[in-house]
Each structure stands twice: as C-alpha cells, then as structure tokens.
Symmetry: C2
Subunit: 458 residues, 2 copies
C-alpha cells in the first residue's frame, strides 16, 4: 500500500473533500455495535460517479483498500476499513435523480436515505417500502441486502432494485439491470452486487421499485401470555393467506424496556405489532379475520391504531427497540443476533433462544420480523469483562447452529461484516469458496472492503 | 475433447442410461424454434445428484462439454449442445422430494415439470405460481429465469426460489440459500445460478416458494378498438394499485389466429385477458374497479369467466397462443421476440413494433404479459427463403434497439441461448465482460454449455 502517493493524487482530485482530520477518521472508524475503533487513513467525499471512478483508479494504482460508507448504521461493522486505506463516504451523493410515476420507480444516488426519499415521494402517491428501522442510506441498504418490518409484504432490497450503476475495482463503470420490471438477459449482476457489502464494487446509482401508498392502513398491538401463543398466531395468519404489511414480535423483556425507555404502559408480556395495507374494505376484512386468529391464541388487550399519528407512534416505538434495550444497560455494548428460520420452526427457535440466554445469565431481549421467521436478540454485555464477552459470543454461535440445523440462516438482514464472517463456512460449505472465486474474478487485487465476506486469500 | 474415453467411463457409471441412438441424439438436437439441428455426442440420464457429479467429473477429466436438458421447451436454443459433448437429460430426476406446508415451500428435483408439481400439490391448498405456458421442467425454468402470465402478481423464477443444489464444473456439489424466507449471508449465489442457463453449474435440486390457493378467482376477457386503448387500460389498472394475478394482451392478428386454431369466435380486435385472486369480496371489489377502468378506455364485450372450466379454457387458449400462430403459417419457422420495457413506454413500443412489422411485410402477431411491460411478436418466416430470414432478423434487432433506448431489455423471460447472444454487449456494455469473468472463475475450462451467454474466450 503506497498510501502517501495515493492521498496526494486523491487530494488533487478532491481538494478539501479528502479528509484526514482525526475527528473524521474516528467517526468513520466507529460502528453501531461492539467492534473496536478502526479508523481509515482518509475519508473521501465524492460528488459524482466519475469521481468515484477516479478514486478507485488512483487507489488501484497504489494498492490502497477502498471501503464504502453510507450512514454507518450497519450492525456488523460492514463499513469499517479494517485493513486501512480510504473510506468513500457517499453523503454528498444523495440526490433523487428521477421519479417515473407511470413506471413506479425512482433513480437515486447511494447517499440518499430512505426517509429522505419517502419525504420527497410524499406528494406522488408512491413510497419506497423497505424499512430497516434506522434511517439508512439506500446504497448501504442495498449493500447489506437490508429488509426490516415490511419485508413480509414488500420483500427485501433484493426484490426492490431493478438496476444499479457500479464502479468496479479497476474504476470501470457498469450498469446492471434496466428500468423494465423483469429481465432474463444474462447473469443477475444486480442481485450479485446487492448484499455484497462493497466487496465487488461501489454502488453509485440505484433504480428502485416504488409502491402505491395504500388507500387504507390499519395497525394494532396485542398482548399474549406466551411467545409460543404469539408465534402460533403468526403462523396461522400466514397460512390463512392474510397479506400483512408488517408483523412484529416483542418478548416480555422488550416490553419492559419500552415501558422504561419510551414511557409506554404495556403489559409486561409478549406482544405482536401488526399492520395491514389495502382498500378500506380489504383492510377491515383482514382485521376481522386477524381478530379471530388472535382470539384462538389467547391474545388480549387488542388495540387498533387507525389514526396516522397513533400508527407512527407505534412504529417509532418499535424502531427504537434496540435503543430502548441499549438504554437498559448504560455503558454496556450490544451484540445483535439475526437468525432467520423456516416459519414452522420459529416458536421452537425463539423458545430455545430465550431458554439458552436465561441459562447463560445473559440479558438479551428478543424482537423480530416474525412473518419472515427472522428475529433478533439484542444481547447486552459489559465490554470490560472479557469472560462475559466470551459467554455472549458462545451463545450467539449456538443460536446460529440451531438456526442452520433448522434449515435457516445466520443472518436474515444484517449481513456478514466482521461479526458473522466466522459462520460463513458453516452455512455455505464449498459455496463459500465459490464466493471467494467470484471475489477473485472481480477484485483480483483485493482492494474492495478487504477482510470481509470471503475466505482469506492464501 | 477426448469423447470416446469419456463415453466409455460414462457407460460404466450409467449403463443403458447413456444413450447414443440417432433418434435420441436428434431429439436432443432440436429446439422449439428456428435453430438448426445440433445433436450432441451422447445423452446421459442421471438418477441422482451423485451421478450428475460423477458425469461432470468424467467430462471434466476428458474436456467434454456438458449441457443440461429439461423438457426442451426453451425458445432460444438454450439446451442445444452447439459444441457437441454430453447432454444431461434430467427426465429421471423428477421427484417432489418434500412439501413443507407450514413453511409454504417445496423441495423438488429439476426434471419435475410445473404441471406435475401443481398436480401433486392440489390437495395441500398450495400451488406454485410461475407459469410460462409450456409445461416446462422446474430446473429449466430456473435456468432461463422464466416467468409468464402470473409474474405481475407472483414474480419470476428469481423471486420464487429460496435455495438450490448445484453441481459445479469440477463435480463439487454445493447448496445455495436456505429454507428461510430471506438471508443476508453473503453473495446471492441462488440468484446467480437462476438465469445462468447451465453455464455456471447444473441445478440438481430446488427449494421453491409456494402460494396459498386463492379463496376466489375471477377471470375475464375484453375487447378494445385499438392496442393503445388496451395498453392504457393496463397502465391505469397498475397505477390504481389493483393486484392482478394475470393481465395479458392479444392483438388483432392473434385474435384471428385463435379463431382459426381454437375455434374461438372472438371479435377480430385487440383484447385483454385478466385474472384476479383474493377473497370473495376482494375479487368482486377489484372486478368492479377494473370494469370502470375498461369503460374509460372503450373496452367492450366484457366476459367474466367465474367457473373453473371457463377459466381453464381461457388460459388454455392463451397458452396455445404461439401454437395458434405457428398453425397460421404451416411449414414456416418462428422467431419469438421478447422485449420488456418500462410500462410507461409500452403502448409506444407495441405500436412501433406493429408498424415496423407491417412495413417490413412480416407476419408477427403480438401477445404479451403487459402488466410487466413484456410482449412477444411471434414472427413467422419461410426457412427456405434466406432473404426473408434476413428481413426477420433485422426487424427483431430493431425491436431490441427500441427497447434498449426506452430503458428496457432484449429479453423479459425467454433468456439468451443462441438467439440473443448478439444483443448482450449492446445491452450490458462492460457488464458483459463482468459476466465473462464470473464464468471464467466458476468454469475455467469452459465445459458448461459452451458457446452461450458470455463473450467468447480469446
């Protein structure tokens, strides 16, 4: 790595938009969870695809690693430049480039956040449905294949991107996909870059599918005596073919954390939060059916939020779930698990996890996108206690082992980053080597977010 | 290629299930459309993944090309062994391995056809929605990223496969994806093999998402004065957020062909065929709204098919569309175009195509999945007239050029095969070189379906 020569050349291109200030480096060396500070050598703030291409060419010429950065809200240290080099911060590439109302799509730069996009779309009657909670950048959401509360209805980032512009490891710029709603023209490169966490290229533009704002929306919260009852209600709801827009589970510990953090007055028991989108009649019909299912599973304290402000309050509370749990253990760090299992195994997986954590003496409230079989335990631990850290990591690994044994995955939506690299071989076997071969083909010098995703090179 | 040594070794493994009979070679040298006969050196009929792996290892050791074969219903010569070698016919790997009702998924072998699968699922209340018309094998449908009439509601093969088992070019067996409904664990290998047309590996098992059979289904056919009216009705329907399960366009020439071939008595004008899935009330509500939209666009002769037998008759007629058109020019060959454009450009694309074909004196009725912006012209030509063939190919190329200029794709669902290889560079630019790099990484000896999909090697 000839970092000095690279930085000289980058300065010529970017001027003040190449930063080496300590505060900037530290800011880009941090993550939301437990990973140690890992500052890069410099932070670049490009304003165009051409500049990203120039940055990449300069870094390639000097063998300097390049790591993309959106809002820094990923949970597994995806954006940390663990081998040093340059972090490319996409904050200044945050434009909504086009909205095609007739085609229900939008073309955006990667630094635009999902909330900014939806704010700009408000008057069009359209919205972008993927909702990971954090107000993440759309480029970052693409790179981690994010999803969240609405995936049960609208799918993940994988399902909501029809095309990308990508800067490759040698600085070439390619376009993948088109604005057509489907294509069979060759390998699905769009799908390959989505979820690649910046290890195959830097996303500089996205074409996103939009949805019509629903005529009617109805949300509700409902308490259950046991997690088992709640999960069985979810399974019945899915099997009845009810089209939920969201269906979220909170366990008793999460309810307690909400009460403490958000001043809620929830019964201290497991809950489901649900939302339906549709026509006025359609939503009513779904709500009635759902009410019957709930009754069959001892649901109680059913509370419909029909007004927009009540709905917003409900989902804001849910989105602050992790923060509520963080606040329950001030000064501690978090490790957020993310297994996803076939729905039929969900009750078992949640119960086994709760029992395991209790036995290990770990505080790890559970909440999740149960319509997808995806749930999180937000495990808190004292970073100054190495024994506790070991206990916590062992519990997380057992959770992954159980998920894989059930035909599931180590991560439903958070991705690999630094935190789940150790599970890749277990989950994919020789498939992990195939990923390594693809990485070698597209990034032979291992410049793009090195140390992540694929097997280490010999 | 040491074909004799390879065939000796394959015979030892497969016995009578390695065929060299002329009729078998000819059968596997044919395609549904205009490509010249291209018989392989032998046809292998494996019965297990292990056998496929053995076949692949033997062929790799002797540098013999391997091409997969499902039902031979692809439209671009995907299954033709244009460089000779062994065709692997998956007919004997046609089992439904598991149905997980609670998870709404099924595990199948690649030789099972979609109609066989749905027959076996009938009693479960579930079905597999992807419907390309032909009773294709599920492995073949995955390999061409097929879709068809129901993609507007349920997506394409890309959206309906959660995991695969694949034999790689060196005979290794990998599993991609899981039975969980979503994952962020690494590169999307499932998505990469789907649509790769057997150039990266041979699919030996698929995990498919199933859907609940709808409580109510309502289908209808409706005539319009012009294609423009019909397409504008489709655009309005989509923008109203109406959840169509199918919406198909036929032009006047197609209606004439139906009348001649299927004894139909349709008005000789453009038509839409539509289907709604939902609850009894939901379907009624959608039908009413659709009726209003139709009226706004001079639709007439509206005919609802509420009984299952009437619906089946309607869709059987639609699925026989290509055959009806083939029958209109006995002895001629067909070239089926497959462009897909953003919906807002659809009326223009269809009208330009019709005008272009008329001016060129070409018989090419138009029908398509207009809810996706995807339409076909089934172009007929006399194979003994080289001038006509040239005219037809030039018209097809102009159609692709227009689609690309509109932000669309050369192929919405038929794939590349031999017929669209010439459009790949135009559509993908340097992205086509990226596909070549991936092919080189996964199949360094160029054994899997060589001559397809990627740039020729130097």
């Amino acid at each position: 790595m000839q970092i000095d020569a690279a930085l000289d050349a980058l300065s010529t291109v970017l001027g003040q938009r190449l930063s080496r200030s300590k505060s900037d480096l530290d800011l880009h060396g941090r993550s939301e969870t437990w990973f140690p500070l890992s500052p890069p050598d410099a932070v670049a703030y490009p304003e165009s695809t051409q500049e990203v291409s120039q940055i990449m060419k300069i870094c390639a010429a000097h063998n300097v690693p390049v790591t993309g950065w959106g809002t820094g809200t990923s949970l597994e240290g995806q954006s940390l430049a663990v081998s040093g080099g340059v972090v490319v911060d996409f904050t200044r590439m945050n434009k909504l480039l086009a909205v095609h109302q007739g085609d229900m799509d939008a073309v955006v730069q990667p630094g635009l956040t999902r909330e900014e996009l939806n704010e700009e779309l408000r008057a069009t009657g359209l919205f972008f449905p993927v909702d990971p909670g954090a107000n993440a950048s759309l480029g970052g959401m693409a790179s981690t294949r994010a999803s969240g509360t609405t995936a049960v209805r609208y799918g993940t980032m994988r399902d909501n991107i029809t095309g990308l512009e990508v800067v490759l490891s040698d600085g070439r710029i390619i376009r993948t996909g088109t604005r057509a709603r489907k294509t069979s023209a060759g390998y699905d490169l769009t799908g390959l870059f989505v979820g690649a966490e910046g290890t195959l290229g830097l996303i500089t533009e996205l074409t996103l599918r939009l949805q019509g704002q629903p005529e009617a929306t109805l949300a509700a919260i409902c308490a259950f005596d046991t997690v088992d009852d709640a999960v069985r209600a979810v399974i019945d709801t899915i099997q009845m073919g009810l089209s939920m827009a969201r269906i979220e589970l909170l366990d008793t510990e999460t309810a307690k954390a909400f009460n403490a953090y958000a001043g809620a007055t929830m019964p201290e028991s497991p809950h489901l939060m649900i939302e339906f989108h549709g026509s006025e009649n359609g939503v009513k019909e779904m709500a009635e059916t759902f009410g019957e299912i709930i009754a069959d599973h001892n649901g109680h304290g059913f509370d419909w939020a029909t007004r927009a402000e009540d709905r917003n309050a409900l989902w804001t509370m849910r989105h602050n779930g992790a923060y509520a749990i963080f606040a329950a253990r001030p000064g501690w760090k978090s490790l957020v698990t993310d297994v996803c299992v076939p729905i039929s195994r969900l009750a078992e997986a949640v119960n086994d996890t709760a029992a395991d954590l209790e036995q290990a003496g770990i505080y790890g409230p559970i909440l999740g996108h149960v319509g997808d079989g995806n749930f999180h335990s937000v495990i808190m631990f004292d970073p100054d206690d190495p024994e506790q850290m070991k206990t916590v990591k062992a519990a997380s690994e057992r959770m992954v082992d159980r998920a894989l044994a059930m035909g599931g995955t180590a991560t439903g939506e958070h991705g690999i980053g630094m935190g789940k690299l150790g599970y890749m071989e277990k989950e994919h076997g020789d498939g992990w080597q195939v990923m390594g071969a693809i990485k070698q083909a597209l990034d032979p010098e291992n410049l793009l977010n090195p140390g992540k995703m694929v097997p280490p090179r010999n």
